[in-house]
Every structure is written in structure tokens, then in C-alpha cells.
């Protein structure tokens, strides 16, 4: 595996399966009374969040702490970043303090890439602009494998071959969609993206996925439907006429959910707009894996940190 995790494209099939298998092992620990492992004792992980995201930050924080790493939360608010310090100077500061991994969330596409030039530790991309969010894709893949391929030992070593995954919504601005298309296709899934043409990336035909504007047709053959958050401000930029029309054409309500095959699951990376891209009844239905995705997020991030930093900590031999 690479030293960094910046793009889902950095992962080979073997890398991705190793992460999922490691996560499955760690999941068994999560059920124990003492959930903490000594693996990364003595190592420092910095959560460097230039963009508010309590969910992702706490997920990474929990993951690092369960591996006994020291965690520093460095948020843009109230730090020197707010005073105009450059990404480079922040990187050099973190570097001087001696950090083993930097988890970065940033509003600019490529920020994780850029940061990786200036730090010696591992860089984990926790979402950069409209580029990628690879750990989200990993936790999504983990959830799919758990639910549709085989849980725990039964899923070991397996990919997502032949699984039909439909990703719906603002694909253009979605780092979750970019990472998922890359990772899921690496794992053998057949991915289809569905969006109004205005929210489809230019040259999307070069992506390893199919493209459709017709949600109903895709739902009938999907094993997984993943709904993306749609931001209301897209409306003012003329991407679609109104929330009402968006919901009517691309929202997942109970009527549409009924089109799905019996076994199919409904996913959402959160935070959801209930009543916009997903109806409350759908989000709370047994098909929904939205809560499982959150708990799997911690486990998968543990696996990523373990594999990127593993062996380097004092507790590695323990």
C-alpha cells in the first residue's frame, strides 16, 4: 500500500480487500468490553479540519483513539488558519511537532495531495473539495460486503464482484461519488450513476461506470442504491428548477423504494436532507444501512490507520 491514502485510485484490489478484511477483524474487537488496542501507542495523529465536519472528525478521532494513538484536533476555526496562514505553513508546523499521520479535510480539491508534498508522515484524505473521500468509499464497500456478500469470516478475501450499485444525485460536486465509482469498480461492482444532466460531470463517460438519467429504470435492477446529499444552493446556480422537481425526479420515496429488488439496500453518506433526496420512511426503513455506515466508518478508519501506520507504534508487538 502507498504511504498515503489520497484517492481511491491509489488502492489496488488487493489493497482494498486487505483493508476490508482488517476492518472485519477489528469489528470483532469492537464487540468486546475493552475496545481499545495498543497498536498505535506512542504515535500522534492530527485531525486537520479546514471544513466543519463533526461526523467525519469524530469518526477518525474514535478510530485513532481505539488504536491508542495520541490525537490532536486541529481545526481551522480559532487557529492561525483563520488568520490567513498558508496550508504550507500549517503543514510545516505540524511536521515540526512530530506527527505520524495527518487526516485532512479541506474545501479545496487537491489539498490532501498538496499537503503530502510537505509532510513526512502519512496523509489521509478525509474529503477534499469536490475531489475524493476515500475512507467514505471504503466504509460503503465494507457495508455492502457485510450485507450482501458475507459478514465477518464469510466475506474474507472477497470483493464486490457483480454487485449492481446505483449512485444517485449531485455526482458533479460529490467527492463521495468519485471515490465510490473508483473503489467499487476496482472491487468488481457494476456502478451506475444517476443524476440530472446538469449535475453529471463533464466527460463522465471516461469514468468506470454507466450513466443514466432514469432513476426508476435503474432501481429495478439495483442491489444497492446510494443517495447523495443535494445542496439547496445548487438551485440558485440553475442546476435544477426547484427542490420539489428534484425530489419528484430523483428523490427516493417509499413508492420508488418498492421498485427495488427484495434484498437491495439503501445507503446515504450523510448528512441527509430528509424529505429531499430521501424520504424519512426510507431512511428509517430496515433496508437503510445509514446507521451501520456510521459505525462501520470507525472500524474502517481504524483499519486504514492500522495499515498505514501499523508496526510503527510502541504497542505493535503487544
Amino acid at each position: 500500500m502507498n504511504r498515503h491514502l489520497i484517492s481511491a485510485a491509489d488502492l489496488s484490489r488487493d489493497d482494498a480487500i486487505l483493508i476490508l478484511d482488517t476492518a472485519a477483524e477489528l469489528a470483532s474487537v469492537a464487540g468486546r468490553p475493552i475496545r481499545k488496542l495498543p497498536t498505535l501507542r506512542g504515535l500522534t495523529v492530527v485531525n486537520c479540519f479546514y471544513e466543519d465536519s463533526t461526523r467525519t472528525r469524530t469518526s477518525f478521532e474514535a478510530a485513532a483513539k481505539r488504536l491508542s494513538a495520541d490525537v490532536i484536533n486541529f481545526s481551522a476555526k480559532g487557529s492561525s488558519v483563520a488568520k490567513g496562514e498558508s496550508l504550507k505553513d500549517t503543514a510545516l508546523t505540524l511536521e515540526a511537532m512530530g506527527t505520524d499521520a495527518v487526516i485532512i479535510r479541506h474545501s479545496a480539491s487537491g489539498a490532501a495531495h498538496t499537503l503530502a508534498r510537505w509532510v513526512t508522515g502519512s496523509v489521509v484524505n478525509a474529503g477534499d473539495g469536490t475531489h475524493e473521500h476515500p475512507t467514505q468509499a471504503l466504509l460503503d464497500a465494507f457495508t455492502m460486503r457485510q450485507r450482501l456478500v458475507g459478514d465477518g469470516e464469510r466475506g474474507r478475501g472477497m470483493g464486490l464482484d457483480g454487485l449492481r450499485v446505483t449512485i444517485v444525485g449531485d455526482v458533479l460536486h460529490s467527492r463521495v461519488a468519485r471515490s465510490n465509482v473508483l473503489l467499487l469498480s476496482t472491487l468488481g461492482a457494476e456502478v451506475t450513476v444517476v443524476a440530472p444532466p446538469t449535475l453529471m460531470p463533464y466527460a463522465v463517460e471516461s469514468w468506470p461506470c454507466k450513466v443514466s438519467y432514469d432513476l426508476d429504470a435503474e432501481l429495478r435492477k439495483a442491489d444497492v442504491v446510494m443517495m447523495l446529499r443535494v445542496q439547496q444552493e445548487r438551485m440558485s446556480a440553475a442546476y435544477f428548477p426547484s427542490i420539489r422537481e428534484y425530489r419528484r425526479r430523483y428523490g427516493l420515496d417509499t413508492g420508488r423504494m418498492a421498485l427495488l429488488p427484495e434484498h437491495a439496500i439503501v445507503m446515504h453518506p450523510g448528512p441527509m436532507n430528509r424529505g429531499v433526496e430521501i424520504a424519512a420512511e426510507v431512511a428509517d426503513s430496515p433496508r437503510s444501512t445509514i446507521v451501520a455506515q456510521v459505525s462501520n466508518g470507525v472500524i474502517v478508519r481504524m483499519a486504514v490507520l492500522y495499515l498505514l501506520l501499523g508496526g510503527a507504534g510502541e504497542g505493535a508487538a503487544a
Binding site: 498558508s86 496550508l87 504550507k88 479541506h106 479545496a108 480539491s109 487537491g110 489539498a111 495531495h113 498538496t114 477534499d128 473539495g129 469536490t130 475531489h131 475524493e132 467527492r175 468519485r178 460531470p201 463533464y202 466527460a203 463522465v204 471516461s206 469514468w207
Partner: protein
């Protein structure tokens, strides 16, 4: 101080074979075989090519206002090293070059530096804000004798204002050099809209945003009978539109940058901000169309769009980084690689596209004239056979290091540059 030179055994671009050139009193006094000039300094120029001194229609010298990036002195030193004897300095300085006072200041700084003639470009609108015409006549009548007007960096997007500007400059034979970029279609745009931008999650910069403005302005130039010059054409579609406008006999000219003749958007794949530029790097198909357009004369000239930036403006996230790349010191070598070594253009063609035509578009006296007796002794001696060597921005005379060609092996070497008979560059080094 006048210098007398005898350049021996040089091949003149477009000429029949090796010849001697005798420079005296700032002029070319003789060209031929075996010229005797006993008092002249002799320069053995066997194997070198003599070109008329290069003329750049488009460079950012940054002074006044951004002297940390470049000054007129460092910028013109870079120009001389690149084989240039005249440079048009773009108007996006601070303060903006939108009055006679500012353009005269820039012109004087050029005179003082003495490495190349500096012809300021005047802003079309006050402050380059696109709302009100700047005093174009006053700039034209000033000592700087401005003939090229541009809001470069920003498009004159308002069609009525553009029409008026085109009409107004007819009174003094000026030209409007348009930065063709439809602003609404490029809000937040970062990289050519295509496969690479989509993969990188960077907002796309559609070719249509450039082409729509060029098409509109060609129609306006036709309607008003005015002269339009299109800056840094970057797409295959733009070449088509200019070709169509020229076929109608309209007074439309166009330039292409060295980087758009060589580089493509996939270089931005690692978010290396040295490749961030406006207009953005495009695709291989665009590069091929631009080369073809330059070869067949649809595109009139090569202009560097030399855009120096301090390190901190580029050492940042892609979206926060400044647009632009340096180019004066590498332009001729890039043109050799992209146009000459590929067989698309001969050296006479290079002389035409890099000296004669840009001087004509800028109505620049004393430049772009043939290497022949009676012409001003402004010329460039170029060693096209010099082995390809990797570009090292640290060795550049420009104050800035943002060369997209860093580490690339480019052929050729500018051996010497003469400005009105005085050597500004000898053996690849500035003379003072």
C-alpha cells in the same frame, strides 16, 4: 554608445545560405559574403540563425505594483535572453495602466533598463473593471504611443462596451486585444472542462466560454470595420472561428502562447499549480489545431503571456493559486520544438510569427523588419543545433520561477541579441 559589429557566416532565416552582417550606427549597413569591416568587433556566427529581433505582444512585467514578481528591468533582461528586442507590457499592473501617466512611467522604465523596447498596453476600461472606457486617446498620444489596448486577465464582456472600444481606437489605428473569456460560463473555473478536471474535482473551464466571445467579437469587428486581436487562443474551436473571420476579410488577428503549443491539461493531474494558467491548458487535439493554425497563418503570432508570480502565489492549494507561467526565456526554444522540429514551420516562418507580424499588429516602428541593409540592427542569433537541455528556472533572469518547462529538455539556445546595433546578449548571457 554605438557599437560596430561584423557577424560572420550566419544563416539568415529565409535566406539562401551563410552571409556576413555588418551592423553600424544602429543599423544593418551591409549583408553579403566576405564583408570587410576592419574596425568592427567580429562575431563568428557559423551554424547560427539570424532572426529579426523577436517582438512579444503579450507579457506581464508586473511593474508598478508587483515588483516582488518582476520588474521592467528583470522582465526585459529575461526578454533579451529569450531573443526579444521589444515587449508589450500588459496593463494589469497596480495602479492599472489606464492613464497616460502610468503608461509613460512604464515606457520610461523600459527606456532606462535598455534591454528591450517596452511598449505599454493600455487598459480598455477604467481600472479594468469593464464599465467605462479608459482615456484611450490620451494613452495613444502619450510618449508611450500606445496602440494595443487590453483588459487582459479580464474579458471586456459587455458587448456594447466592446463595440465602442473597437470603434473608438480606429481614430489612432489602435487595436483591441481581447482576453476572450465569458465570465458567467467560467465562474470559479479552474481547469479545462474535460476528463482531467472531472477526475480531479475541479470546476471546468469550457472551451465554449472562449469561443463564444471570439465569435461575438469577430462579428463586432466586421460590423464596425475595426481591428480585433485575440489574445492567447487556446482551443481548436477558436482557431476555426478565427479562420472563418479571416476568410471573410475581416481585420482579425490572433496569438498563441508557447505553453498552449506544447502542454496539455493532463499535466495538472497531480495538482501541480505551475500548470495553472488562464486560459487553461487544453487537450492534445487543441494543441494540434493550434500548431496547424500557427503554421497556416490563421494564428498570426506567438505571444508569451509571460506571467511571473512569487513562490507563495503558487505554493498553495490549486484553487487558491495564481494563474500564469513564465515564458520569455523559453519561447523560442518551445517554438523550435513544437513547430520547427516537427516540420510545421521553417525559420522564415518563425521570423514572421515572432517578429514581423506581432510588430505589425502592434504598429510598432523599428521592429519586425527583414534582416537586410537599412533595417534597424535589432536581431537575434539562435543556435538551433544546440543539444536539448533541461530548463532550470533557478537560472532564469526573471525574478520568478514558475516555468512550466522546468526539467523539460528543450532544444536550441539564444546566442546573442542586438537592440539597434548594441548587443544585449552575447554567448547566452546579458552583456551588463
Amino acid at each position: 554608445m554605438t557599437e560596430e559589429w561584423l557577424i560572420k557566416g550566419v544563416s539568415i532565416a529565409g535566406g539562401p545560405g551563410a552571409a556576413d552582417i555588418h551592423l553600424d550606427g544602429g543599423e544593418i549597413v551591409a549583408v553579403g559574403a566576405g564583408i570587410a569591416a576592419p574596425t568592427a568587433r567580429v562575431l563568428d556566427a557559423q551554424g547560427l540563425i539570424a532572426l529579426p529581433g523577436l517582438v512579444d505582444l503579450h507579457a506581464h512585467l508586473r511593474e508598478p505594483g508587483s515588483e516582488d514578481a518582476e520588474t521592467v528591468e528583470t522582465g526585459t533582461r529575461a526578454a533579451a535572453l529569450g531573443g526579444y528586442t521589444a515587449v508589450h507590457a500588459m496593463a494589469n499592473t497596480e495602479p492599472v495602466a489606464d492613464t497616460a501617466g502610468v503608461v509613460e512611467q512604464i515606457w520610461r522604465l523600459g527606456q532606462q533598463a535598455g534591454y528591450a523596447d517596452v511598449r505599454p498596453v493600455g487598459a480598455v476600461t477604467v481600472g479594468r473593471h469593464g464599465r467605462q472606457l479608459a482615456e484611450l486617446g490620451a494613452m495613444a498620444d502619450s510618449a508611450a504611443a500606445v496602440r494595443v489596448f487590453s483588459d487582459d486577465g479580464d474579458c471586456v464582456a459587455d458587448p456594447l462596451l466592446m463595440r465602442r472600444a473597437l470603434e473608438y481606437v480606429k481614430a489612432f489605428d489602435g487595436v483591441i486585444a481581447q482576453h476572450a473569456q465569458e465570465p458567467r460560463l467560467t465562474e470559479g473555473a479552474q481547469l479545462n472542462e474535460g476528463e482531467v478536471a472531472s477526475r480531479l474535482g475541479l470546476p471546468g473551464w469550457p472551451a465554449a466560454a472562449e469561443e463564444a466571445i471570439i465569435a461575438r467579437d469577430c462579428l463586432l469587428a466586421a460590423h464596425t470595420g475595426s481591428r480585433l486581436h485575440v489574445c492567447h487562443v487556446s482551443t481548436a474551436g477558436s482557431v476555426e472561428i478565427v479562420r472563418w473571420a479571416k476568410s471573410k476579410g475581416w481585420q482579425v488577428t490572433a496569438e498563441v502562447t508557447p505553453h498552449h503549443l506544447l502542454l496539455t491539461d493532463d499535466l495538472a493531474g497531480g495538482y501541480d499549480t505551475v500548470f495553472k494558467v488562464n486560459p487553461p491548458l487544453r487537450t492534445r487535439a487543441d494543441v494540434d489545431a493550434l500548431r496547424q493554425g500557427l503554421a497556416d497563418g490563421t494564428i498570426d503570432c506567438v505571444a508569451t503571456d509571460h506571467a511571473p508570480h512569487p513562490v507563495e502565489a503558487k505554493e498553495t492549494e490549486w484553487a487558491a493559486a495564481a494563474n500564469g507561467m513564465t515564458g520569455l526565456e523559453t519561447a523560442l526554444r518551445v517554438v523550435q520544438l513544437a513547430m520547427v522540429d516537427t516540420g510545421l514551420l521553417d525559420w522564415a516562418g518563425v521570423a514572421d510569427r515572432m517578429s514581423r507580424r506581432p510588430a505589425a499588429i502592434g504598429r510598432l516602428p523599428g521592429h519586425g523588419q527583414p534582416v537586410a541593409p537599412g533595417s534597424p540592427a535589432s536581431l537575434t542569433l539562435y543556435d538551433a543545433a544546440a543539444p536539448a537541455e533541461a530548463v532550470d528556472p533557478a537560472a532564469h533572469a526573471s525574478k520568478s520561477r514558475n516555468s512550466p518547462f522546468a526539467g523539460m529538455a528543450l532544444p536550441g539556445r539564444v546566442h546573442a541579441t542586438f537592440l539597434r546595433g548594441a548587443a544585449t546578449v552575447l554567448d547566452g548571457k546579458v552583456t551588463r
